[in-house]
């Protein structure tokens, strides 16, 4: 449902006029506030006056400290949905201080991110705030509890959390208590003392009881306020008060049982009947009670119940909504259940009907389900679905559907498709089609009289159902990696959409784009996402439209269109900042665009974009793009030579990466393998390649291109380390095949990288003139687009290649710039730091030979030493240079200027 925030839940209860002032407890609460303790916990069973005490204290605090604002949230069962809980929390705080939660919270962001936003708002706000969560015992949802623990751990000093609960909350109460961070009031504190009991009975209720009678009542009820209140009601206008007290105190019957009976018996028939009929309601209003009781004048009845103190509590200032005291409601409901159980379902149905007509679907569904009127529940749920789709709060609908009989869902196409979708989301891909196929049959079936054979009401949702079904089928195909399936269903969806169904068209074009992307037809992918973006704009969804920039960039980069990528990020960022949508999608765009700057070796600018993204806060990221920040940062660190840091960042990116949104064309595991190759940790890199089942014999497709290029890199590195391994020829063969495939797909970006690797492989084989051919091609294509890191990332061997290119007069300006940058890079990073122990003269000789293509035995012969001695030298060199492999030792030695 479109989550209408019920104002009654945020209403700060006003102190009752007949309440007994409790200065000793109010003072304890003030003390907690003054001492800045994190949590105030009022924990006691029902009827101990928790809410009354807090409302008395709040009123006093507002008088004493005018700058203090109060946010109050009365919780109920349905708040066990994290999204809903959070929405109310934000609404309560926003009502207290309009500067808090003023930005539309991102419905997709995790609870913690939204809380961080709230915490920041409070911390930067200008008010001290008391936040009261009443009836907290109803919260059982673990993620909400975790959210509150997070809130407590990051509580700004301006915020005071107050929890009222019938049972101790599952929060780290003991820790807070031990740390002096807890103000605690429990049943023993809340009980009426003899004086308070006397004040209540004789002053507030004006019963004029003797001291003995007060004591007798106080001891019989053990100071339980609800008990004393009921006792007072029973005694009002009773001629024989002493007789009542005698029989009450002499009875063993449970206090509430005894007294409720007394009170109810003393009510006129119409009042008693009203109480029982309306007992099923969580909230009472005049019109609602009229509908449920079938009588007029419920508003007046509620007013008189409040006047008579009959456990009716107002929920707003206008006396439109009330509720019964929980304890009293329990008594009434138990009586109704015992005396007249057959009546209950009918009352719920009447309540559901009223709520439905008053556009409160959530309550309507709840009462329909309580009445076991599944048809009504299904109808209301169906009507609520478009709202749910917009607010993306589908948790409630899924819970409701789980309470409906399968048959009821199956007769309603709209619910059937929603149910199918919920299965898709939960990962039960195989079960989806059953529901979609069933829905199609249901839609086409006709009854004998020609009318439709299903129960769904006509409307937008039903009319666009064929499009929805096609889109979900495309999504199922995507989950299965069935590219043809995606295309087929997305095309069908596109055919079925009406020209003005921009949202449907945008989704279908996006699906087509994904399929084209995954199959390596990147130009088609770019076009499709361009259409999708256009449709999304027409649908008024600029945020999602701008988010396609990142997807398009993921395709433009392998297409080698770096300039265009840069410009599209530039423009998208400009529009996103104008949008000012809580940092969305600005943050994602900043993070993703860092890669363009990195490629151009503008590492400072890249880092600036990443910092700008981070500054917008956790909540500004969307969860499917969150990993991009870590990849971007890893790539910058990698360029700076901080390889271990880069690996850590990539590991974090891996954990944040959400599968299933986009084709995984650049697996993060592959990026890590590449860093390990640079580190000389070839075994680790090999483990990834093996795990992916990559080999030079594979058939090539775009989805595995990154993996295969990684394999080629690994084989070149292996061959350089140990030329006897003989894998260079195989690497060269693989690169030749990769080049053909990339050229066929017009992926100039991929082509450039493959050409560079071909040059490196040939250089490593000592075939420098041959190596210049691919290098020249790469340089020709890369210069106009402004590539730099494409060459820089290859280190010393590339420097040798560039020198040769300069000698051959290839692209002289570009080559000079690249060489200068490369020399500067080689001198930066941790390798700049001097080594702890200098290499001996002999070790220097060895290290210089290690930089050649000579094998270990050849070097030993060259130096006239045994292979064993030579190995000892190598071991010492590795230790001193803090490396574990030959190429790493050579790189390090080069960086140190030793060779």
């Amino acid at each position: 449902m479109a989550m209408a925030v019920l104002a009654t839940k945020l209403f700060i209860p006003t102190p009752r006029s007949q309440a007994v002032a409790r200065p000793r407890l109010v003072e304890q609460l003030h003390e907690g506030l003054r001492a800045g303790r994190k949590l105030t916990l009022v924990s006691a069973p029902a009827g101990f006056g928790k809410t009354s005490l807090l409302s008395e204290w709040i009123a006093d605090a507002q008088r004493r400290y005018p700058h203090v604002r109060v946010a109050w949230l009365s919780l109920e069962d349905g708040d066990n949905d994290p999204a809903r809980f959070l929405a109310y929390l934000v609404a309560a705080l926003h009502q207290a201080d309009p500067d808090i939660g003023s930005e539309e919270p991102n419905v997709q962001s995790p609870v913690e991110a939204a809380l961080t936003m709230l915490i920041n708002d409070v911390a930067h706000g200008s008010h001290e705030i008391i936040l009261v969560l009443d009836d907290f015992q109803l919260i059982e949802e673990v993620s909400i509890r975790d959210a509150l623990v997070f809130l407590l751990d990051h509580l700004p000093s301006r915020l005071h959390l107050v929890i009222a609960s019938r049972s101790d909350p599952l929060l780290p109460v003991a820790r807070l208590r031990a740390g002096g961070e807890l103000t605690e009031l429990r049943a023993a504190d809340l009980r009426f003392t003899s004086d308070e009991a006397a004040a209540f009975l004789n002053q507030a209720m004006q019963l004029g009881l003797s001291l003995e009678d007060v004591d007798a009542l106080e001891s019989r009820t053990e100071g339980w306020i609800a008990g004393l209140q009921l006792a007072a009601l029973s005694m009002r206008e009773r001629p024989d008060v002493s007789g009542f007290i005698k029989s009450f105190t002499g009875s063993h019957r449970f206090v509430i049982d005894y007294l409720a009976e007394e009170v109810l018996q003393r009510q006129p028939d119409n009042v008693r009947d009203f109480l029982f009929q309306t007992a099923i309601l969580d909230r009472l209003s005049g019109p609602l009670c009229d509908a449920v009781t079938g009588r007029q004048g419920s508003s007046q009845m509620l007013e008189s119940l409040e006047r008579d103190n009959l456990f009716v509590i107002p929920l707003d200032e206008n006396r439109q909504w009330y509720r019964y005291h929980h304890l009293f409601a329990d008594v009434l409901r138990a009586r109704l259940l015992s005396d007249d159980p057959g009546r209950i379902a009918g009352l719920h149905s009447l309540a559901s009907e009223w709520y439905e007509h008053n556009d409160l679907p959530e309550e309507a569904v709840r009462h329909a389900l309580a009445a076991r009127d599944f048809e009504r529940a299904a109808r209301v749920i169906e009507a609520a679905i478009p709202g749910v789709r917009k607010s993306r709060q589908d948790g409630s609908v899924l819970r409701w559907l789980s309470l409906l009989p399968n048959e009821t869902i199956r007769r309603r196409p709209v619910l059937s498709v929603f149910f199918g979708w919920s299965l898709l989301v939960s990962g039960d891909v195989d079960a989806v089609e059953g529901w979609l196929g069933h829905t199609e049959q249901l839609l086409s079936a006709k009854r004998d009289d020609g009318t439709s054979a299903h129960d769904s009401a006509d409307g937008e949702e039903l009319r666009t159902l064929p499009v929805t079904i096609a889109l979900y089928r495309a999504a199922v195909a995507q989950a299965r990696g069935d590219l043809d399936g995606i295309k087929e269903h997305a095309r069908r969806a596109l055919q079925l959409t009406s020209p003005d169904d921009h949202l449907g068209r945008g989704a279908a074009a996006g699906m087509l784009g994904l399929a084209a992307w995954a199959s390596g037809d990147l130009e088609a992918g770019v076009l499709a996402f361009g259409q999708s973006s256009g449709s999304l704009r027409l649908a008024g969804n600029l945020t999602d439209a701008l988010s396609t920039t990142m997807v398009v960039a993921d395709m433009l980069i392998p297409l080698g269109r770096l300039r265009e990528t840069h410009d599209s990020y530039d423009e998208a960022l400009r529009q996103a900042m104008e949008l000012g949508n809580g940092g969305q999608p600005t943050s994602d765009l900043h993070a993703a665009s860092s890669e363009v700057f990195r490629e151009r070796n503008q590492l400072v600018e890249a880092a600036e974009h990443l910092a700008a993204s981070e500054a917008l806060g956790e909540s500004a990221f969307s969860h499917e793009h969150r990993y991009r920040w870590f990849v971007g940062m890893a790539r910058v660190r990698e360029a700076e030579g901080q390889l271990d840091t880069a690996l850590d960042l990539l590991t974090e990116a891996e954990q944040l990466y959400r599968r299933g949104f986009f084709p995984e064309v650049r697996p993060i595991g592959g990026m890590k393998a590449r860093v390990r190759i640079v580190q000389g940790r070839l075994q680790d890199a090999l483990a990834w390649v093996t795990d992916q089942g990559l080999s030079t014999k594979d058939e090539l497709n775009y989805l595995r291109e990154f993996g295969h290029i990684t394999l080629a890199r690994l084989m070149i590195a292996q061959s350089v380390t140990d030329p006897t391994a003989g894998s260079m020829q195989e690497a060269i063969g693989l690169l030749a095949r990769l080049l053909v495939a990339a050229e066929a797909g017009k992926r100039t970006g991929s082509v450039n990288e493959i050409l560079v690797l071909q040059a490196l492989a040939l250089e490593a084989q000592g075939q420098l003139p041959l190596a210049l051919e691919p290098l020249e091609r790469a340089l020709d294509q890369a210069e106009p687009e402004g590539y730099v890191r494409l060459f820089l990332d290859e280190g010393a061997p590339m420097l040798r290649l560039l020198r040769a290119a300069a000698g051959a007069g290839i692209r002289p300006d570009y080559v000079r710039r690249l060489s200068q940058a490369l020399r500067a890079t080689e001198g930066t990073g941790p390798t700049r730091q001097p080594i702890a122990e200098a290499l001996s003269e002999r070790e220097l000789q060895v290290v210089r030979l290690l930089a050649t293509q000579m094998t270990g035995p050849e070097i030993a012969r060259e130096l006239y030493v045994s292979l064993n001695t030579m190995r000892t030298h190598t071991k010492h060199i590795f230790l001193k240079l803090e490396v574990t492999s030959r190429p790493a030792a050579v790189r390090r030695a080069e960086a140190l200027g030793l060779i």
Binding site: F48, F254, V255, E261, H326, D330, A334, R335
Partner: protein, 84 residues
């Protein structure tokens, strides 16, 4: 998994409460039999399908503000113990 976890959860429970509750509360307490004892306590006796049901029942007890004295599983050898 411990032997304890393997034990079927279905069983009869006896819950003792402080004060005497009328038999009319039986439906409210999921059909449990209410017996007023001579010492001013009430015992609720009935079947529990699983732990969640037991906790739900105890929550109802707590919501009413009744003082809980004890919760006992009744031996399964005698599924219908005689009330005194």
């Amino acid at each position: 998994m411990s032997a304890h976890m393997n034990r079927p959860e279905i069983g009869r429970y006896q819950i003792r409460l402080h004060g005497q509750l009328d038999e009319s509360w039986s439906d409210w307490f999921e059909g449990f039999t209410l017996t007023n004892e001579s010492d001013g306590t009430t015992t609720l006796t009935g079947p529990i399908t699983d732990q969640a049901a037991l906790h739900g029942l105890l929550r109802r007890v707590g919501d009413l503000g009744v003082t809980l004295i004890s919760v006992n599983v009744l031996p399964s050898t005698n599924p219908h113990p005689k009330e005194h």
